[in-house]
Structure formats: structure tokens, C-alpha cells
Amino acid sequence: MDLNYTPQEQAFRDEVRAFVRSRLPHEISRKVLEHKKLEKEDYVRWQKILYEQGWIAPGWPVEYGGTGWNPVQKHILEEECAEAGAPPVIAFGIYMVGPVIIAFGSPWQKQQYLPRILSSDDWWCQGYSEPGAGSDLASLKTRAERQGDHYIVNGQKTWTTLAQHADMIFCLVRTSSTGKKQEGISFLLIDMRTPGITVRPIITLDGGHEVNEVWLENVKVPVQNLVGEEGRGWTCAKFLLSHERSGIAGVARSKRELRLLKYIASEEKKNGRPLLQDSRFRDKVARVEIDLMALEITNLRVLAADLEGRPPGPEASILKIKGTEIQQSLTELMMEAVGNYALPYLPAAWSNHWLGERVGPEYAAPLAARYFNYRKVSIYGGSNEIQRNIISQMILGL
């Protein structure tokens, strides 16, 4: 039993740390650390740096451009990137559709799409949820009808994250309405420039534009863009959900945010003394810190199981639930810490380039929006209630 990294793992961490420190652009990490708005270029720029280093897709098989790292090494890269304030790698290409294409795709699809996913030349988005199919994903209604060499796709996707930047979308579509609703679903890769696709922004309660509606009206998709067999898309969807769940706990990111919280609370005053010394407030901070310590060890336990070759299982649901609860607590406490200065709503001040006069401390400006925005984390990726259903069925057998 040893909770520390082995000398080899430490050496690897030093190497990763040195790389991240020297190559992560300062102006990008500043945005991340200060909760400023990230542009598409920021994400792509950092992903291309990782790509040039050969580290963009550690989870992929080596022959497709992966690193051949073990789970601990992958974890170390994620930790070091989060710690240093690197933007998260956008999951849709590298972590979602990439592994699906590797597992189920045709040679043509592999050749066509995988290199452009690795190089971040294509930005992917995910066409899963629909207005009538959220947690009950299999109820989706977007239809794809075969006409010769094409599918004609009609329907509406929603909650499509960063679709406004996307070159490609992977979609679950209904190719048959008979039998069980999970049957008759197919997995299609669709070029976002195809005529008939309309992206409409959904503005979230923080005032941000992250998610979209994607309308598909007689969209012509070549049959060669069908992944796997027609009607077997649910298999791809399930594979995707069970694949590559490491990092789901977000421990390193939360440790970074905890440090920011402590910093803010040490700058803010209550009764003339740092808020961090106020017993009511510091107790709340300490409880989150202790919860995070517990999550960190639990995360490492899951990782160790992974290292022994046991597949990532429903334990990931535990990490998702606790990880998101902690992330939400941190945003809540940060907003609480700045008191009244959480109120001013000046979205322009969230940009690094803004030259206007600020209201209150600089760190206060994005905190309320972040709190509002982070209500999403316990909803997306399978709501925390769905995660509880998964644990109940898969682990407890209820």
C-alpha cells in the first residue's frame, strides 16, 4: 500500500510538468485561472501543442496515434494540465467519436477522420439529446431514411455543446421505428456544412452561449458516413459512455479552484479580518477540502483497479456524482466569498482584452456567472440521478 507515485511515475510527472510549463501559452492559462472567456482559437491552439508533442490522445491505441500510456500516466497528464491552467481538451473528438470510429468505423472513416481529430483540424460536436429525449436518450426521433447512396436526415438535436464552432457532428438517428426503441438507432457522421443544418444558440442563465439547437432539414448524408451497421448505433452509444471515464472526477481542477477560493477568501474581509479566518466560512471551505481529499483517494483507487486491467465500470458514476457536487460547492463558496460584488453583471469584463473600468475586485466579475453555469455539471453527461440509477442497477443489483 503506497499512495505516492513510484520513482518512475515521479520522473514521468516531472517530464510532463516541464512540458506543460514551457509550452502552455501564458495568455491561455491566465484566462483559465481567472475564469475568463476562452475562444475557439485558445482550445485549438493548446490542442495543437499537445498534438505536436504526440500527447493529444493518450487513450487511443498506439497505431492510431495514441501514446501507449498506462492509466496512471494518463492521469498524470490530466492532473498536470489542470493544475497549470490548461483548457480542457474538447472531449467530442478525442474522447468520444474518435474511440467509436476506432472500434466500429470503416477503413475509409478511419483514414478520413482520425488524423483530423488528432490535429484538431476538425471540431466535433455531439448530436445525442433531443427536446423529447434527454435522460431517456433511446426515445430519440430524428429520422434518417435511406435513399440510394444517402440518408436523408430530419429532426432536431439540442444541448449541442459548442456546435457553433463545429465542422462535424456525430448523431444518433432513428433508421427504424419497429421493435425495441434501442434497436433501429444508427450512428451517423455528418458534415456541419451540409445544406439543411441550422444552428441556433441557446443562451444559458449565466448569459453564456455554450449550447445550441441543431436543426436538420432534409440533410443528405452519404451512406459511407454510417458507423458500424445500420440499427446498431445504440452499441456505439453505450461503448462511448463506458469509454475513457478517467478525469471525470475533476480532482486536479477542483484542487486548483480550491486554492483560488482560499485566495479570494483571504483577500475579502469580514469584520475587518480576512473572511478565511471567519469560523463559519472557513468551516465550509474545510469540509469541501476534506470531501475533495476523499474523492482524490477514491479516484486513485479506481485508477489502480484500471491499472490492474479491470475495465472502468460503474464506479465512474460515483466519481461523477461526487466530483460535480464538489465543483458546484466550490463555485458557490467563491460567489459567496465576494458578497455584494457578485452582483454586477458585465459580461464584457470576462474577456482578457476588455479595457473598461471594472466594478469591484477583478476576481469577482465572473463568479456569479460561473456559479450559474456550473449548475449544468450535475445534469450533463447523464444527470446525477441517472448516475444513481446506474449504480443502483450495475453495482447494487436493485
Binding site: S266, L295, A304, V359, Y363, R388, I391, S392
Partner: protein, 396 residues
């Protein structure tokens, strides 16, 4: 990073589990509690012959030479079986005090007797005027004619009546709450002037109020360095807390399993009640707390032997605080999900609940350990921002 048990640890776990499954059923435990001694000499002999009593004791004194993780393995098993014998006070606390602070002679004489089961100990520290603080000691020890004379009262001394020897904290100098001036002593409870009042506790154990009136003991009774007993006391109690955390995990595991089984078998409205989502989600939350508690018990077990006292205190207190909360949740929900049966004396679940409740306050409750956790924080807060925050500005 390695979360696996060694071959020896696996054997240890297997043997203690097997022994308890065979010799320590819930019904056997009931009989033990009702007996006059409040513990089972037979079970104690069994522990000795299994080698359990030597787990954290150095090998040169006949022990296993184990560390925090080995103790964790044993305590988790004892928690699962709700063992009432004085393992914690004898092996973990007294064994720890002697190992860490005892003289060569004390170690040579006493440690083998812990290992072979011939001596049991109690740890007499808390007093009516203290809550959980380790530094407040009003029992006094003064030197008189080359001997030590002890006066004072110790409260809720676990297994006090069963002990052959007491480990007693006493003030040898300084103010009543000063960490400086505390010394640990061995006191034989049969000495003149020692009066004990033995009573049962709600969790099936026994404790005693012990008063010392001009109890005269020899200079060889001092454990460790005169006036400098606080660090030893703290290190030993931290071992105790790490052990209690593991015991709590054992209790939680057993409660979780019992509740899950109940949800699968108890039928209402024509289906097992585990089919109801309200109960399923509660059960999942219990699992999450249990798994997180395991992680924290592990953290405490690994760091309890750390040479870095700050890291040790921080990990142990974080674990105790977390496990207090988690134990309360798991315990209360287990009772709730058992419905009316949960509040009967008949089922084991209530007995686990009572033990978990007791564990929460033993050696400091959550508030106490949150304070101690925060005391380990460095005063300086590093600025994670790349440039300092802007000064106060007027409204635009």
C-alpha cells in the same frame, strides 16, 4: 502508487475474517455483553493465538511488526463483527505508547505480554473537565520521597475494569491546559487509592470512572520523557483514531450489506422495496459515503506513521471528521430503510448504529477535528492568479 495488500496482509485479513465468522456471531456477541466481565476471555485467547494482539508490535517483542494499514485490516474486521474486547485500548493505544515511548525495560516486559494476551490495558486520559482536548490534564502527579503520587479523576475510561494496567496522563508541571508538563504513567488499578466504578456503555462495551487518591507509584512507572508526554499522547491517540476510522468502515460495510439484503427481500405493494427509486437512490448515497469513508480510513492508516507530524495530524483529523459525517449518514439511513425493524433490538443494524454513534465522539468529534485540521493550514495563502487583483473601483 499501489493499493494492493501484500501476501502477508491478505493472509492476515483472511485469518481474522475466518476466525470472527466462526467464533463471533451476533448471538455470541450478545452473550459476551451480558456476561459479568463484559468481554470474552476465550475470544481474547483466540486473538492471541491468531497473532492479532501483536499486529502493530515490533517483531523483536514477538509481534507482527505491522503498520497503520495492518491495524486497519484488523480493525475493519473487528468493526464488521462488532467486537467488544479491549483491542483498541490494549494493542493500539497501550501497545503504541510502549512502542513509541517506553523504556527498554518496559518494552521488554510489557510488549510480549500484550502479544500473548496475558495483559490487558486501558487508556485513562479524559477527565470530567475536558471535552476532547488532549492538552487539558488536571490529574496531578507530584514527586515525594523518590516516588510519584497521583491525584485526580479520569472519566469514561474504556475497558477500565478489565485492565491489568492503566496508562494515565497526569500533569507534572505547567498550567492545566498547557501541552508542556504532561507525563504518561503506568498505574496498577490494584494500588491503594485507585477507585473504579465500572458501567456499561450503550454500544455494548464497558467503561469506568477512575479516581486516584494519593496513589503512590514507582519512578519506573513513567512512560517516555517527564513533562514531555504530549507529543507521545498525541501520536498514540492518532493511532487510535486511525484504528477507529477503520472500525467505523467495518461497521458501515456491514450495515450497507444488511440494508441492501433487506431491500432485496422485504416486499411491499407486491414487490421488493428495493424496486422503489426513492430507496434505491438512498442506498446509492450510502454506498458513496461508505466508499469515500474507506478512502479516508486508508489515508489515515497510511499517514498515521508519517514522520511529518503536520501531515499525520491533517490526514487523521480529516479522516475522523469525514467518517463522523459519513457514519452518521450511513447509520441513520440504514435504520430508516429497515423501517420499523430498524429500531428493534433484535436486528444487528441497530447495534452497528450505536457503535458508529459512539465512534463519532471517541477521541474527538467532527467539530474538534475540523478545528485541528484547520490548525495544520499554513497561514500564508498563495495567490493562484498570475497578477494581483485590482484595487477597489468606483461604479462605472
Amino acid at each position: 502508487m499501489d493499493f494492493s495488500y501484500t501476501e502477508e496482509q491478505l493472509l492476515l485479513k483472511d485469518s481474522v475474517d475466518k476466525f470472527l465468522a466462526k467464533n463471533y456471531s451476533f448471538e455470541q456477541r450478545r452473550e459476551i455483553i451480558e456476561a459479568r466481565e463484559g468481554y470474552s476471555p476465550l475470544a481474547w485467547e483466540g486473538f492471541a493465538s491468531l497473532g492479532l494482539l501483536g499486529v502493530p508490535i515490533p517483531e523483536e517483542f514477538g509481534g507482527f511488526g505491522g503498520h497503520g494499514v495492518d491495524t486497519m485490516i484488523v480493525m475493519e474486521a473487528l468493526g464488521r463483527a462488532l467486537v467488544v474486547e479491549p483491542y483498541l485500548s490494549t494493542v493500539v493505544l497501550a501497545g503504541g505508547a510502549i512502542t513509541l515511548g517506553g523504556s527498554d525495560a518496559q518494552r521488554k516486559i510489557l510488549l510480549p505480554r500484550i502479544v500473548d494476551g496475558s495483559m490487558k490495558f486501558a487508556f485513562a486520559h479524559t477527565e470530567p473537565g475536558t471535552r476532547f482536548e488532549l492538552n487539558r490534564v488536571e490529574t496531578t502527579a507530584r514527586q515525594e520521597g523518590g516516588m510519584w503520587v497521583i491525584n485526580g479523576q479520569k472519566s469514561v475510561v474504556l475497558h477500565g475494569a478489565a485492565a491489568d494496567l492503566l496508562v494515565v496522563s497526569a500533569r507534572t508541571s505547567g498550567a492545566p491546559d498547557s501541552p508542556q508538563g504532561i507525563t504518561l504513567f503506568f498505574v496498577n488499578p490494584s494500588e491503594e487509592g485507585v477507585v473504579g466504578r465500572d458501567y456499561p456503555t450503550y454500544d455494548g462495551m464497558r467503561a469506568a470512572e477512575v479516581t486516584f487518591q494519593n496513589v503512590t507509584i514507582s519512578p519506573e512507572s513513567v512512560i517516555g520523557v517527564l513533562d514531555n508526554g504530549f507529543a507521545l499522547l498525541e501520536a498514540v491517540v492518532d493511532r487510535g483514531i486511525a484504528a477507529l476510522c477503520a472500525e467505523a468502515v467495518g461497521c458501515m460495510g456491514a450495515m450497507h450489506a444488511a440494508t441492501l439484503e433487506y431491500l432485496k427481500t422485504r416486499e411491499q405493494f407486491g414487490v421488493p422495496i428495493g424496486k422503489f427509486q426513492a430507496l434505491q437512490h438512498r442506498m446509492v448515497d450510502m454506498l458513496i459515503q461508505y466508499e469515500q469513508a474507506k478512502s479516508m480510513a486508508l489515508l489515515a492508516a497510511v499517514h498515521v506513521d508519517s514522520p511529518d507530524a503536520r501531515e499525520r495530524r491533517r490526514s487523521v483529523s480529516a479522516a475522523k471528521e469525514f467518517i463522523g459525517r459519513a457514519g452518521r449518514f450511513v447509520g441513520q439511513q440504514a435504520i430508516q430503510l429497515h423501517g420499523g425493524m430498524g429500531v428493534t433490538d433484535e436486528l444487528s443494524v441497530g447495534h452497528y448504529f450505536k457503535r458508529l454513534t459512539a465512534l463519532d465522539t471517541t477521541f474527538g468529534d467532527g467539530d474538534q477535528h475540523l478545528d485541528r485540521f484547520l490548525d495544520q493550514e499554513s497561514a500564508k495563502v498563495e495567490a493562484p492568479l498570475l497578477k494581483p487583483a485590482k484595487k477597489w473601483k468606483q461604479l462605472v
